[in-house]
Symmetry: C2
Subunit: 290 residues, 2 copies
């Protein structure tokens, strides 16, 4: 028996993530409301029939919502969580789609009795942004991390699982700390490396424009993340400072070691390292879903 089908759901933030969620969710809920600061976005959502109603005012839009989905950048989510008791005095269930989870789950833990909340992070590519790029299949087959916290009840856990099922995602329960540590390695540190490499190349290019003629697909792949949305990335870095700093420290050490081996011409050490990296790559590739 579906619980979602009886719920009035409100999505706050109608970008690519919130918009895609609206499209996938609409047939499965009793009523769908969109809240966004941008009036043209709300008008487009209504015109395209993605939701039942829209509002630029959370206090009005969140009235009688059973489930609130927060789909804004991380630090905006943190602020919204703190304002929920004011907007939904009768309490509600809450989930979010933010890219880091420790600070958001801490904010959730501060909600008053009656509120049920769980952190969420669907792992989808986000190269384009905005409602115009929304796609009901965005979450299909993707891992959807769920982070329980002190406000997570069995009820909101069931609701979240049903939501992930409806989206075609694969639920994965992780503690907020573990989530943030893992994505520091797979997502946030890669961004920093891509941006740093982009800087090195741009500096070199200021001296010799031919650099772009000798850059190929490898360089393009390694710098693509430098084009990530700056507001989103700053939010992510500022809310995952500890894990990112720790990983960057380890990388800095490893890069220093490689530099030393190169300076000393230590072929044996370099060879072991190159071989081990190749093995790690093949092991990872072997574990990828076909």
């Amino acid at each position: 028996m579906s619980i979602l089908s009886e719920k009035k759901v409100a999505i706050v933030g109608l970008g690519l993530m919130g918009g895609s969620l609206a499209m996938a969710l609409r047939p499965h809920v009793s009523e769908l409301v969109a809240i966004d600061r941008d009036e043209p976005t709300l008008a487009a959502a209504l015109r395209r029939g993605l939701v039942d109603s829209v509002s630029a005012d959370p206090a009005a839009g969140l009235q009688q919502a059973d489930l609130v989905v927060l789909a804004t950048p991380v630090r905006s989510i943190r602020r919204l969580v703190a304002l929920l008791p004011e907007w939904c005095p009768a309490s509600c269930a809450v989930i979010d789609l933010g890219s880091t989870k420790v600070e958001i789950c801490e904010a959730m833990a501060g909600l008053p009795d009656g509120f049920e909340a769980i952190g969420g992070h669907p792992m989808c590519g986000k190269e384009t942004a905005g409602l115009s790029a929304a796609d009901p299949d965005l979450y299909l087959g993707r891992t959807f991390v769920l982070c329980p916290n002190t406000r997570t009840t069995p009820g909101v856990r069931r609701l979240a699982l049903e939501l992930v099922e409806v989206l075609g995602g694969r639920p994965l329960f992780l503690s907020p700390q573990t989530h943030d540590e893992l994505v520091a390695v797979t997502s946030h540190v890669p961004y920093v490396l891509a941006a740093a490499l982009m800087f090195e190349a741009a500096e070199e290019a200021s001296m010799n424009e031919n650099i772009w003629s000798v850059s190929s697909s490898g360089f393009r792949d390694m710098t693509r993340l430098a084009g990530s949305n700056p507001t989103m990335m700053l939010d992510i870095l500022m809310t995952n400072r500890q894990a990112v700093t720790a990983q960057l420290g380890e990388l800095q050490e490893m890069i220093g070691q490689i530099g030393l081996w190169l300076q000393e011409g230590d072929e044996r050490a370099l060879s072991s390292w190159v071989e081990a990296a190749h093995r790690a790559y093949l092991t990872k590739k072997g574990q990828e879903p076909g």
Copy 2:
């Protein structure tokens, strides 16, 4: 009037690069010989009609060659250049396809009078290896760097330009030093970063296998180069130590700076950096050929 069409050309090394060269070159030369240590590779080349004759013995295969193309890993090319006077006592023209150029051009400079030589580096993706992946269009539209040195005569320069033209490549003359500095940034340092990131992730995975469930296309792009052929990469790193070490030093410093800003929560500095990386990315993207 074509000069290549009168030449007997010998290709040493029938991997992806040499094999693709043979396929593209055959209709344009007087005679084509392949030299490789691997007998099955030679047999396959003959069977597929890629060359006129084959030999596992350079002394025999290089007899009467007018132009020798060295298409093995970098340090093997360096050794082959030193052996050419023994194998081609009547002298010949030489070009290579190696990924670094300073050490190879130094070896070319040591050839006796009569030898004409120029360094070469075609910028093609090399994700697969071996003759079976060879493709006559591998060089089409790609930059083909040519590095003049003290053994570069007007004659070998014309021959090299005609060879690049026949392949459909875009010739770009660079000094060996400039070439090695530029590819350190666009290719060798990206490899080191990809390998280092692969290690960090593998170490994290040994503690929590869920890391692979929260890695997406960004991580895959950022670690793809870690799968590069270890022998080729070791050769590249060992022959471009100075430029790679210098660039790694700068990156290490930048990563340290980001780490400090994160530790101090210096949002203003981080924000400027993230914005500047985004601008550098867009500027680069704007300069890419359509």
